[in-house]
Symmetry: C2
Subunit: 482 residues, 2 copies
């Protein structure tokens, strides 16, 4: 297959396709709408469930809204409309005739959910009001598309919360970051920076936007989650009011959080994958342990019996294990299961059976060793933790090695050209008055964008803005993005 280092883009396309790990079929006939294949569905369900667990543990209740939204909903929030209108899909006909009121397909939940919040929330006793929806898709008419990176229909997950004051809402932003850290980094090993976006690059209608910025080897950032401090703007538009302790009517303070399910999938592929295919953390692998028999004419029965015995034992112990008893050659099987990223492979041949041993191969390092069958469970227990640790270490090193510092526009340009990554540079302002510098940066670097400043951490900065030369007030992170 294609080399990841040489040509990330082609490598990525291949690994998604049927000649790779067969994750997404793009031949379906609607641009930007993929068929998610079984292996991908199983992986995505796993981390979707991790996220569900995380937000539910923090008191979010699930609801599920329809895909269709009445036209009237979008016209209420002017800024939000401006942001999403060009991307909307419109349902104009049904039942054989034109609809009296058109529907759009939700591009994200705000405009469908908040009018209902207006009906549901009455009192300060209802707050904090925390809800989420998952196991659904959203629709955006994007000009260019790519599996899991940019789609016209894609899997979505969103939390929508209402608080009694701004302080509580801002605390939720921090909690959202913790969900992302606990799932995407702690369990999946995808490193990211949590950045506060500049004012000119916010979610349509938000006061402030925060993004979890991961990184792909083509030198672009991959936003795997975002959180928005919505202030009271939507609450005022959609009438989300509560009576406080003094029976005074107040507007709610809102946040919304969206871990990017498809972007996490892209991150898993891009961050851990190698030239032999996917490399999956133990926690999300649909098959965690694959057993490959090494058989000859003689002794096949004995080997199969041993494989079945071990399969049963590991299944009993709660692992997702599979015994590959197809007619394919061991070499073909090795390649196939390596392509799919299965973390542990057990090889069992006559030698192993005779010596009461088993050969254990790990996907991440491709190390192989023969151990006693008696030590197998302990070994797997160790590997289930160690594989993630090793993946993290490698991913962290790669991520850290691709964060550069620059003091001038020329340096930024130079790094983006030769050694693409994320660049820290001094900047005048992340308020709207810094937008002009940002426009210049984008033109001069063909797409380099100010992604923001570190959240909740004032980094020391000296010198001058790399564009306008005025006093620098921020150390911003600059990168190209997906």
């Amino acid at each position: 297959m294609k080399q990841k280092k040489e040509n990330f883009s082609e490598w990525y396309t291949e690994i998604c396709s049927e000649t790779g790990a067969n994750l997404a079929d793009v031949r379906y006939g609607v641009q930007g709408a993929i068929v998610e294949m079984p292996w991908a569905v199983r992986i995505m369900r796993k981390f979707e469930e991790m996220l569900e667990k995380e937000v539910e543990a923090d008191d979010h209740e699930p609801f599920l809204f329809p895909t269709l939204v009445p036209e009237a909903n979008i016209n209420k929030e002017k800024e939000h409309v401006k942001g999403f209108s060009p991307e909307l899909f419109w349902v104009t006909e049904a039942g054989g005739s034109k609809l009296a009121e058109k529907y759009y397909l939700r591009p994200t939940g705000e405009s469908q959910i908040y009018p209902m919040f207006g009906l549901w929330i009455r009192s300060h006793k209802d707050l904090p009001y925390k809800r989420y929806q998952s196991r659904m898709t959203v629709f955006r008419f994007e000009p260019t598309t790519r599996p899991y990176l940019r789609g016209r229909e894609f899997n979505f997950f969103e939390c929508h919360d209402v608080f009694k004051d701004h302080k509580s809402a801002l605390k939720q932003v921090e909690r959202d970051m913790v969900y992302s850290k606990k799932v995407m980094y702690d369990q999946l090993g995808i490193p990211f920076l949590f950045l506060q976006r500049p004012q000119w690059d916010k979610f349509a209608g938000a006061e402030n936007t925060f993004g979890a910025e991961s990184f792909t080897p083509d030198g672009r950032v991959n936003t795997i989650a975002s959180t928005h401090d919505l202030g009271q703007k939507f609450a005022k538009t959609y009438g989300i009011k509560f009576r406080d302790e003094m029976e005074k009517e107040e507007f709610g303070w809102q946040t919304c959080y969206g871990p990017g399910l498809v972007r996490i999938m892209a991150g898993l592929i891009a961050v851990h994958g190698d030239d032999r295919g996917l490399v999956l953390p133990f926690s999300v692998a649909p098959v965690q342990i694959i057993i490959v028999p090494i058989t000859f004419e003689k002794g096949k029965k004995k080997v199969f019996a041993e494989c079945q015995k071990i399969e049963a034992e590991l299944k009993e112990a709660g692992y997702r294990v599979k015994f590959d008893e197809t007619d394919n050659s061991p070499g073909w099987k090795f390649n196939q299961w390596e392509m799919l990223g299965v973390p542990i492979r057990l090889e069992i041949g006559p030698k192993e059976v005779d010596e009461k041993k088993v050969t254990v191969a790990r996907r991440d390092t491709r190390e192989k060793e023969m151990i006693s069958v008696n030590d197998l469970k302990k070994k797997i227990e160790f590997l289930s933790v160690d594989i993630l640790k090793t993946l993290k270490k490698k991913a962290d090193a790669y991520f850290d090695n691709h964060i550069f510092e620059a003091r001038t526009l020329a340096e930024v340009r130079d790094i983006l050209m030769k050694n693409p990554g994320i660049i820290k540079a001094p900047w005048c302002s992340i308020n709207i008055d810094g937008e002009n510098c940002s426009d210049i940066l984008r033109k001069e670097t063909v797409g380099g964008k100010v992604r923001g400043v570190l959240f909740n951490k004032q980094e020391k900065v000296s010198g001058k803005c790399i564009i306008c030369g005025k006093k620098a007030n921020h150390l911003v992170y600059i990168a190209k993005s997906h």
Copy 2:
């Protein structure tokens, strides 16, 4: 609240609404598209997961198709088009302009999935090819709508299988029935008949259709699953071919199975619910055990401590348990949790604490007894099984009591008027030549329909068709339906 027996329809509407168990909010603004509220989402996820487990255990792999389908797909299968065209929603605009090719929103998966099967299936080695999709919605422009009974957008679950011959396909129809039995009857306690539909009432494009017919107290059948023997018709339309052992190219034989997620929800509400609200089987209850403290000024602390201790113990034991420590009165709490159908309520007051006892109330029978705390776990273990058993017994009796026999049209009419239910009657033919009699039946009974004959079981029949008077060849089941 409304009385179930007196007016099922109003009772059903109320139990779904915010003054009832708050399952579905119909105020969203799109007719037939409900907001599924947290309690309903949690219940539905539970049986969705049961179904996933069941079909996966029988080798179905999950995939997920987009919601949008290109217009070209629907024009291929003439019969299927005729069936679904009037119900389609059409996306005609996106990104600010008219689309060159329109998309429709899937009404069911066949027309989107089968062209891809044509690409994926190559050889007899690929067969049987068994896939399913769940955690998605479908869209049908229905004239009238009702939460969980008839919607314009609703949750869907579908299996699509391809076999090498008709015999294997027909075996799958039997397996589909087993999935339904194992989930909907064994675990949820919803009784049903598995019927083969007459030829004039098949799924558009199918050779034969089979339905799992449950029953609601307004005397209508509620189809909670259907299975279709598709023969080779779709395979020929969409080019689903395989090379057999002799390298000869053959068309696949197909089946599809759809447990009706929303109809199962309707069944759970309608079959088990009573005048105090929902009654949930233990397996799907989002909260299985609710702990209500009975407190007075004095001793409140002691009671709360005991409640928390028991909550922790039961959580540890794997139960979904909740301690209601809100300020509401015990009576209010009893009503609230009964409305939500929580199977077991524990009441703990100073008396219980002093005597090391706990009062256990079961939702299904509303029986209450005080037992020793030491016996609590054993009691709950017993109830988790016994509640389902009791619900089933009651539901079975009700179902059986509403299956009548008739020998004449007058009798059918009489039963449908006075004592609505399912009626067994002699019938001329379930082939297309029986359709004329069916039209007459429908007019004469204002909506009574031949739902079919028992699947895989030839019932003895004598006498004459209740309509045309010709020799009866079948004992058919007649009912009004949702």
